[in-house]
Amino acid sequence: MTYHQKKEVIAMLLAGGQGSRLGVLTDHVAKPAIPFGGKYRIIDFPLSNCVNSGIDTIGVLTQYQPLELNTYIGSGQPWDLDRLYGGSFILPPYVKGKAGEWYKGTANAIYQNIKFIDLYDPDYVLILSGDHIYKMNYNLMLKYHKEKKADCTIAVIQVPWEEAGRFGVMNADADLRIREFEEKPKEPKSNLASMGVYIFSWQKLKEYLLKDKEDKDSQSDFGKNIIPTMLNQGEKLYAYEFKGYWKDVGTIESLWEANMDTLNQDVPLELDDPPWRIYSRSSNLPPQFIGEHAQLINSSIADGCFINGTVENSILFPGVQIEKGAVISNSILMPGVVVDENAVVEYAIIANKGKVGQGVHIGYWKLPEIGGKHRNITVIGQEVLVAAGAVVPAGAIVGENVIEEV
């Protein structure tokens, strides 16, 4: 005898991407592991959404630099995902028979884990990705999927028409049944963009995954292959409109913006939201200390920081140290960054354990910011040292130690 626990729905989180548009930020970690919002990482959002939506079984598909992500997720306990049945599972590519196969496309990654999914015999599978910031109740979407008796439901959000061309766009009828799906169309016929959140009826998805595997020309991608094929075959695909904050943080600029959004009370992305908490693994650091010479304006500062300079419109992750006379503005300082005396950091993202020497100027820009546009974001990579006195101009992407002006 054996016990078997069926799950109505399980989630598969695609966390294998490198996120190459994030440059030096993903040199050492996969995109979903990038710190966000002062104490979180990007992956905390889909994980917390799942748990808050009552979905307790999540396969996390990893491939690129998974060490930090795996260690971060660990047993899943911070997200209450350390369960007897279900919980979080890291699913790397593996060798089967004689040879191994890397995950080639999003759909191929799911294909290779059919066996895992079948363990839970789910009716529905929720497909998520690890590069969006949003709070969403997937359970409502599942309800909609069931009501519509859909084969696949795609979460969509209205985007400005001029940006629609950057997304996968749905052309749906009045009932929201999807008639056409265009990946990054030049002339979008709709401004309903795919959020990269799909619910499939599992048996249907499995059928299409198996078919897709036979198609040698397929890139095995949901947006490019699976969904267009399903539409062609007349399957029932519905759009589910999400009305809330949602942001793809796949670029330096959008990552910076989404972080800044957490400081803006007009943006509907409240992190301090007990009924819909975003969980994360805590740092075990003591509380922050604010020194004699600190000046704090509209900023978010985490445990373990030591602040003795000026911090404005900035987000400081755990263990950041700002010495006397230093000025940080409109910047994101990831865990363990040290900024020495009299340094200036403006419009910058400094990755973990970056060191900014005395009197350094990061994000230097001679012209005034005009017309709501800000200077380009400067990025300093993980553990990079910017030596005393150096000047790093706005927009520079610094992956190696700097000893003088870039």
């Binding site: 919002g37 301090d272 075990n284 003591p286 509380p287 922050q288 600190a294 304006i297 509209n298």
Partner: protein, 374 residues
């Protein structure tokens, strides 16, 4: 080396007024997001001692809530781990209350202590905080062939006087204890050696000493075991040279907290991690117009006012125009607009309404009881 840590979560010599009305000493908040017990338990865990029993007496629900399964202190273990030992009625018509002393507390929990794999026991109180190398302590205990090792500190160790109620330990030239008295006066002379309430003893010896004492109706470890045994047992001293914090009074508790505003002190206290219950709070948020100086701020705070020389715990809101100085503000407290607080301890869940002013003195801080509305 197998070591069992036993922590007494309460102290008979404390007078912390409203602060310990609904909680035991060890669950008192400390340094913002921590509680006293966190420092004691973390000292054990950081020294690789994963078998820790906490003896509770009364008012221990907050302590049990805080420690939970022990997960956050890395103390869910198949062998050892964390246990909170509480008094309980064995039969239908028994009543339980206070232990009559430390020995009775140990005796009542001997069934659990006996089951530990520990060969040596480190006993610790909760009213004196230290940061000690327990492995060195036990090594010295073994090398010195001591029956019991009593940890002491010398002179004032940063205190204005030797704290009231602590044990003055007197050692001979061979570092052997020959006398013990309770400090009842404001002593400030040199050459005094007093107990940090930490002891090492072989577990089997502890078991038999406790059984003996109980048989003779003796209940206090210091008076009835330590003091009575100076001739029969080789009780050696071990000097602790680090910083100490002590809190048997409200002023002492305040002073102990204020130590954490010192960068050097903080550096030593947090050299190794101090574990505590995790809370999923958001990072602290500082708004336009806030002024914060020389203060400890915990996560979840939302600050619009002014803070100086204060210790602020988690999830505290401080309104526009409010000024908080030289104070300790515990968790989930709301301080509204234009409030002024100086030398105040606000317990958990307190609300201070607009424009209220409270001020105490360094020798007598104002204490506002848990869940009060001012």
């Amino acid at each position: 080396m197998n070591i069992l840590g036993i922590i007494f979560s309460y102290s008979d010599r404390e007078n912390l007024r409203e602060l310990t009305k609904r909680r035991t000493l060890a669950s008192l908040p400390m340094a913002g997001k921590f509680r006293i017990i966190d420092f004691v338990v973390s000292n054990f865990v950081n020294d690789g001692i994963y078998d820790v029993s906490v003896i509770a007496r009364n008012n221990y629900h907050s302590l049990m809530d805080h420690l939970g399964s022990g997960k956050e202190w890395d103390l869910i273990r198949k062998r050892g781990g964390l246990r909170v030992l509480t008094p309980y009625a064995r039969s239908d018509n028994e009543k339980v209350g206070l232990y009559r002393g430390t020995i009775e507390a140990l005796a009542s929990n001997m069934h659990s202590i006996r089951r530990s794999m520990g060969e040596y026991v480190i006993l610790s109180g909760s009213s004196i905080l230290y940061s000690m190398d327990f492995n060195d302590l036990v090594e010295k205990h073994i090398q010195s062939n001591a029956d019991i090792t009593a940890v002491y500190t010398r002179d004032l160790n940063g205190f204005p006087t030797v704290p009231m109620g602590v044990s003055i330990l007197r050692f001979n030239d061979h570092n052997r204890l020959y006398d013990m008295t309770i400090n009842m006066e404001d002593m400030s002379q040199h050459g005094i050696t007093w107990s940090t309430e930490v002891f090492v003893i072989r577990k089997s010896l502890l078991e038999s000493l406790v059984a003996d004492a109980i048989a003779y109706g003796r209940y206090d470890f210091l008076e009835d075991i330590l003091k009575r045994s100076v001739n029969n047992l080789n009780i050696q001293g071990y000097e602790y040279k680090g910083h100490l914090l002590e809190f048997s009074s409200v002023a002492g508790y305040m002073q102990a907290n204020m130590n954490f505003l010192n960068r050097e002190f903080r550096g030593k206290a947090f050299k190794r991690p101090i574990y505590t219950k995790s809370k999923d709070s958001v990072p602290a948020r500082y708004y336009e117009g806030c002024q914060v100086k020389n203060s400890i701020i915990s996560d979840g705070c939302r600050i619009e006012g002014t803070i100086e020389n204060s210790i602020i715990s988690r999830d505290v809101r401080i309104g526009k125009g409010a000024v908080v100085k030289n104070s300790i503000i515990m968790q989930n407290t709301e301080i509204m607009k234009d409030v002024l607080l100086d030398h105040v301890i606000l317990d958990k869940d307190v609300i201070v309404r607009e424009n209220r002013r409270l001020s105490g003195h360094v020798t007598y801080p104002v204490v506002v009881e848990k869940a009060s509305i001012v």
